[in-house]
């Protein structure tokens, strides 16, 4: 239990996120209304995904540095959890946009085609598909060392692609997402101070939850490897 303090921090932060995130007063913005509370949950998923992919890339570099297969397992499991949280971010975003961006006055198809042009949606899809390809690439190579080396290099490329796909390009093209002029999710001068008090703990809490799940998966896959060796 010596290493479990951060798990307690994670639980406390998530409880705080849920209680404060649902109770604080949020500014009543046009079309958004009360749904801006989703900043703590939907955006939290993407922040968690970014954290996990970052740790995955760092471990890929560490593998290339040391050729220790342990880091290959780390990189793989962090990428898998990152994909999980990315899919959660996508799903929650789909729910959110159905009641904010989707225009109830237009026919469903017109409304959808307007949203499908949203560059951040396409960018996030590209980023996730690149990571899906990472999994496919890994599992198609049988030799352990070759697999670890090739997938570590690919992992770094995939991480590099994340930035244009979900951070840069959606800011250049006309987008429904906020953030055309700066970075509203990280630097909120235009939205209430109160929300920022919940936002950062929320991001940290979700990221820690992702790390927690991944450490369990890592330990399990190391056990599996050890059993194969015996």
């Amino acid at each position: 239990m010596s290493k479990s303090w951060w798990k307690i921090v994670c639980v406390v932060l998530l409880v705080y996120t849920i209680v404060a995130g649902l109770l604080i007063k949020v500014p009543n913005l046009p079309a958004l209304g009360q749904t801006s509370r989703n900043l703590f949950f939907h955006v939290g998923m993407w922040m968690c995904m970014m954290t996990l992919f970052t740790i995955s890339a760092v471990n890929a570099i560490r593998y290339l540095h040391t050729y220790n297969l342990k880091y290959d397992i780390y990189a793989r499991q962090y990428a898998t959890s990152g994909i999980l949280f990315g899919i959660l971010g996508y799903t929650t975003g789909a729910i959110w946009m159905s009641y904010t961006w989707a225009d109830p006055n237009n026919p469903l198809f017109d409304s959808f085609s307007a949203i499908a042009r949203e560059p951040k949606l396409i960018g996030a899809a590209i980023a996730l598909l690149i990571y899906f390809a990472y999994m496919v690439l890994r599992d198609s190579i049988n030799d352990m060392d070759k697999r670890a080396r090739i997938s570590a290099v690919y992992n770094i490329f995939a991480y590099a692609m994340l930035f244009p796909a979900i951070w840069i390009v959606p800011r250049i093209l006309p987008s429904l997402h906020p953030g055309q002029e700066g970075n509203p999710a990280l630097d909120f001068k235009d939205v209430s101070q109160l929300m920022r008090m919940v936002e950062w703990p929320a991001f940290l809490g979700w990221s820690l939850l992702g790390v927690w799940i991944t450490t369990l998966k890592i330990r399990l896959s190391i056990l599996k490897e050890r059993k194969l060796m015996q």
Partner: protein, 98 residues
């Protein structure tokens, strides 16, 4: 029949069965199912303070209670999973030493 009675008693031994272990989660689930009933049972005529609090502010606290319960379930699951993996790790280490 009576002749065998003595022997039958000898053969029966009280052993701990797995039934209780299997029943435990079921009992816990039943407790959780009825917990709201238990909380409301204290006061029939007058509203209890818990109920009063939960019904205030357009009953939004109910949603928070639900989400927190889900979170608690997930966290408990993760903690138990971690313990089980830790046990497996210790078993694997002692196995490899032999």
């Amino acid at each position: 029949m009576d002749n065998y009675l003595e022997n039958t008693f000898i053969n029966i031994k009280r052993t701990k069965v797995d039934a209780m272990r299997k029943l435990k989660p079921l009992l816990l689930m039943l407790l959780l199912l009825f917990i709201s009933g238990i909380m409301n049972a204290q006061d029939g005529s007058k509203e209890s303070t818990v109920g009063e609090f939960m019904r205030s502010d357009q009953r939004s606290y109910v949603v928070i209670a639900v989400i927190l319960t889900i979170l608690a379930g997930i966290v408990l699951y993760l903690v138990r999973l971690g313990r089980r993996i830790g046990k497996m790790e210790r078993e694997g280490q002692s196995g490899s030493r032999q």
